[in-house]
Symmetry: C2
Subunit: 257 residues, 2 copies
Amino acid sequence: MRITLIGAGRVATHLAMVLQLQHQIVQIFSRDLQRAETLADQVNAQAITELQQLDPQTDLVIIAVSDQAISSVIQAITQYLPDNLIVHTSGSTDLAILEQKHPRAGVLYPLQTFSFERAVNWSETPLFVEAVQAQDLTLLTDLANSLSQRVYQYSSTQRLTLHLAAVFACNFSNYCYDMAKQVVDAEQVDFSLLYPLILETANKATTNNPKDMQTGPAMRGDQNILNMHRQLLVDSNRTDLQDIYRLMSESILKRHH
Amino acid sequence: MRITLIGAGRVATHLAMVLQLQHQIVQIFSRDLQRAETLADQVNAQAITELQQLDPQTDLVIIAVSDQAISSVIQAITQYLPDNLIVHTSGSTDLAILEQKHPRAGVLYPLQTFSFERAVNWSETPLFVEAVQAQDLTLLTDLANSLSQRVYQYSSTQRLTLHLAAVFACNFSNYCYDMAKQVVDAEQVDFSLLYPLILETANKATTNNPKDMQTGPAMRGDQNILNMHRQLLVDSNRTDLQDIYRLMSESILKRHH
């Protein structure tokens, strides 16, 4: 397939890197020429900074930009590529938002967290596809199957549920690590001491129900320790961590008592 | 060494299992005879349910009970074993609490989360030792070195900091997994779809600064998605998750903008 990527951020970069192994990346669009060129050079594509430069000889346009920009980007693209399949990669953006502007719209959503610093294990990454037209759904499913062993045809509603769950499982758990690091950093204690704990907690959640794996003072209803920890956060003037400590502990207590 | 364990819960069980490989477990105490016998049978020890049954021929007594019970347990034991080394395994309990009641007091704190269902990788688990008397600190350090490659002599204050950080890194991240499961369960979406995301998020935190690894709508300041997710939680009547979603998102927003 001939594929065009709109965006040169983390998702666009990781997608381009894996897609170029089996497909041809035609163009990379980014308003930032340097970012477009950096990625385009890596995948033998043309870097473009204006949508009117889009090559109509493409089988698939993948929009990998921030959710807020998706609607205006598809509106701008459809005049240049009225007959091409155009998909977005967002968890929470309904297919209907593309469909209003473009007849051949679809979704290719990878359920993973992407960083420039780390490679992605694509074959294990769940991919969710959706399309307005049946033949496009087949095409997207075939493409997704070429990347991953875990491909699912999900509705926009199911995808939104998954994305909301992912915010808890990924974004919020990462913020818990960030807060833990703030706590140890303030006392010159080495954050790497917590690595085995972080990894075991995550591994447990993939073999057992996380509810059954809950440990800690809130789960035990140990008010002495909870008060001691809260006081420590008050003393060190960490208002945000203090509020989160209180709310999370109260919620865990309720769930387990 | 001849070792006595007070308690037959998760920490006591995992400690007994690893200690018996190189040491002799003399007795297991639990008020619950069946629990004491279950563990004692596994490690060739005697099960006891009364503290006056304690055998004074022991080199080390490990108190692995809930934090609230530590103070009363040491008070009860010291009359039977006035000259033996007695330690607790708690992150947040100060050595002074034992020291007030017993002259040879110490701490052996494993920084890990323990479940009956899962084996513990002891050689990678950081162990923190502390003791009132210098020769006991040496003895505990040697014992800890026989279990783990990562042994540290930490003060009660440093240990408290670690334990507070562990609540964020382990207890709260696990609760994030639990909440994610509640979200997908309500829509009959399979929780295992989130496993690669959970594992990658945890792995990232052990190779990069979690702050730099933050992703998601709150980090991007995407108010549309934040409002959509909040509304979804309001509609499904999940007050707790809604409150936590709001507070965590606001805190992430503040940290990244």
